[in-house]
């Protein structure tokens, strides 16, 4: 095992896959000269050359479209959008092209594309640099959505995403980049569509992803004398390993879903839908959703802290459902 940051884990995943497969290339803003503004592709240009690490003008629609088209022609692009907020400028390429081309072509075209980006609040970057948009991508059929919480998952999922023949939206979190975790020395993959129980417990199930996994684990720890909390990280929202969630809910009967995205209309609602559909009778208390306040993210640190959902809200929700 080695203890590495998530940035490092992601960097290794890309490097290993580029070494393994010549059809893999990286494209995005500032990806060559500084390895992207978060450093995920640092060193790549030097190692693989600027032909395979393509630094682009600020033209998200064109270079995402290029990546989609290159995937149609058999390459395996890893396309970086600097902030998920900027995906609004290439939404057509993602929602109407990447997601639908295979189906519209009757399966004749495949789009083995990874769209990497990062999201989330907590850095006082205000409303246009702090969103969590996983629910939007997860609502569009044809996209897979990966959203890792640990360096291990990040590396394993990214390698799987690169090898997957479908478009995968890969959502990192800006506050997790410098968080460390153990990863094996030898190669490993984490399959898309397999949840992980991050902590076992018998009283309450907490489903959380991305930054909220850590917060859920902290909450579970804080409550350990009172409630036994099971924390499940789906790791990918599409495909969703609902079976893992259902198994836990059937055991605990109590459910909290924690997302950083704003409360109204988030992906938690989709989990609730499945729970109502498939294991409603197992519930012994009303399930609760934790999320950030439904406002544009304010700049001021005082306000941002008030808006963002965190450990405190998870603790309150666990206590409420366990009562």
């Amino acid at each position: 095992m080695r203890n590495v940051t998530m940035v490092r884990a992601l960097n290794e995943a890309i490097a290993e896959e580029m070494a393994r497969d010549e059809s893999v290339f990286v494209i995005g803003e500032d990806v060559a000269d500084c390895g992207g503004v978060f450093g995920v592709t640092a060193g790549m240009a030097k190692r693989f050359g600027r032909e395979r690490v393509r630094q682009t003008p600020i033209s998200e629609a064109a270079f995402t479209g290029l990546a989609v088209g290159a995937a149609m022609a058999g390459l395996r692009p890893i396309c970086e959008i600097m902030y998920v907020d900027f995906a609004t400028t290439c939404m057509d390429q993602i929602l109407n092209q990447a997601a639908k081309l295979r189906y519209m072509s009757g399966g004749q075209v495949t789009v083995p594309l990874v769209m990497r980006t990062q999201q989330g609040g907590g850095t006082c970057e205000a409303a246009q640099h702090s969103q969590c948009l996983e629910a939007i991508f997860a609502h569009v059929p044809g996209l897979k959505v990966a959203i890792p919480a640990t360096p291990y998952d990040a590396k394993g999922l990214l390698k799987s995403a690169i090898r997957d023949d479908n478009p995968v939206i890969f959502l990192e979190h800006k506050l997790l980049y410098e968080e460390k975790g153990d990863i094996p020395r030898e190669e490993f993959l984490v399959p898309l569509g397999e949840a992980e129980v991050k902590r076992e417990g018998g009283d309450v199930t907490v489903v959380a992803w991305s930054l909220m996994v850590g917060k859920a684990l902290d909450a579970a720890q804080a409550l350990e004398d009172e409630v036994s909390v099971e924390v499940i990280d789906p790791r990918t929202l599409v495909p969703l390993d609902f079976e893992a969630i259902a198994t836990s809910v059937r055991k605990t009967g109590r459910l909290v879903i924690a997302q950083e995205a704003c409360l109204a209309g988030g992906f938690a609602g989709e989990i609730l839908r499945r729970v109502c559909d498939e294991c409603f009778d197992a519930l012994s208390a009303p399930p609760r959703v934790v999320g950030s306040a439904s406002v544009p993210m304010p700049f001021s640190p005082a306000l941002e802290a008030a808006v963002l959902a965190g450990e405190e809200e998870i603790i309150a929700a666990i206590s409420a459902v366990a009562a």
Binding site: G65, L66, V68, A73, S105, G106
Partner: protein, 322 residues
């Protein structure tokens, strides 16, 4: 013009096939309507045949074409099977996209047909992809992207020109300027007469050509394709043309009658036929035969489409994931 007569006649045949395909397609559409079935949007390529045919004449099966919503002509010129295309229009399982795509989404990647697009301008960035792939792999494949003058007002088109020029990608953008976008005349969309200067402002060559003159299109496209194959980068070609029909089957005609009459006289098919006859590259009899054969081929295609089965509804999710 140093093309062999067979090549010239083949281009005429393709133009005639497109023309006839559209007529049959409209019949099928109306047959559907008559039984209460509305078969989506249908945009006729009639009148613009010289562009698709003149450009695609330079392409190999391993070259790529990205088409638009008005894409039947591009598909046929690229060599697609008209039977499968016709079946697609009816949503049949034998359709060129297995009935999943319809008129605007015809795919045949084995001959480089990378699909139409329901999003105006949607193909312009996608076309950069196979062009990039060719450069990346060191092949001499070229990619062509067809789009309308309406699409030329989309931002992504400009981003694409910039990237194509910056990276000298082997891509050719062909603007089919038919003077109208749905019911909007070009004077309500372009503050300028021509598109070529825009290409030049991105540092790439721009050409303007009479899109109703097959030989003119063929020549311009030859130059552009040659440049792309040689690794000398992209070209923009603006082809001035006119569609014979209203925007699609459900939007009534909005264009002035005199404008339509004026363009009718410039119909690319009779023009090319007259030239062929004049050159002795075809005889009257051969010409009549060609049209008869094409008509029979399209009749057969329409029958094939009608008789093909619809997909099994239970298989709606098929082809979603790879």
């Amino acid at each position: 013009m140093d093309l062999a007569p067979e090549r010239l006649r083949e281009m005429l045949r393709l133009m005639a096939t497109i023309r006839r395909f559209e007529l049959r397609a409209q019949e099928l559409f109306r047959e559907g309507l008559a039984v209460g079935e509305f078969l989506g949007a249908l945009h006729s390529y009639e009148g613009e045949e010289a562009i698709a045919v003149g450009v695609c004449a330079h392409l190999r099966d391993d070259d790529y074409v990205f088409s638009s919503h008005r894409g039947h002509g591009h598909a046929i010129a690229k060599g697609a099977d008209v039977r499968a295309m016709m079946a697609e229009l009816l949503g049949k399982s034998t359709g060129i996209s297995r009935g999943r795509g319809g008129s605007m989404h015809m795919f045949a990647p084995e001959i480089g047909l990378m699909g139409g697009n329901g999003i105006v301008g949607g193909g312009t960035p996608l076309a950069l992809g196979p062009a990039f792939a060719a450069q990346y792999r060191g092949t001499d494949q070229v990619t062509v992207c067809f789009f309308g003058e309406g699409a030329a007002s989309q931002g992504v088109f400009h981003e694409s020109l910039n990237l194509a020029s910056l990276w000298r990608l082997p891509v050719i953008y062909v603007c089919e300027n038919n003077l109208w976008a749905a019911t909007t005349p070009i004077c309500d969309a372009w503050p300028v007469p021509d598109l070529a200067p825009r290409a030049e402002s991105f540092g790439m060559p721009g050409m303007t050509v009479d899109g109703n003159d097959l030989l003119a299109v063929h020549e311009a496209a030859g130059e552009a394709v040659g440049r792309a194959r040689a690794g000398d980068g992209p070209t923009l070609i603006e082809a001035k043309t006119y569609r014979h029909r209203p925007h699609c089957m459900v939007i009534p005609e909005h264009r002035p009658e005199d404008e339509r009459a004026q363009w009718e006289a410039l119909d690319p098919i009779p023009r090319f036929e007259a030239w062929l006859l004049e050159q002795g590259a075809i005889s009257d009899v051969e010409l009549a035969d060609l049209h008869t054969e094409v008509e029979a081929e399209l009749d057969a295609a329409a029958d094939f489409a009608r008789q093909s089965p619809l997909p099994d509804p239970a298989h709606f999710a098929q082809y979603m994931w790879a």
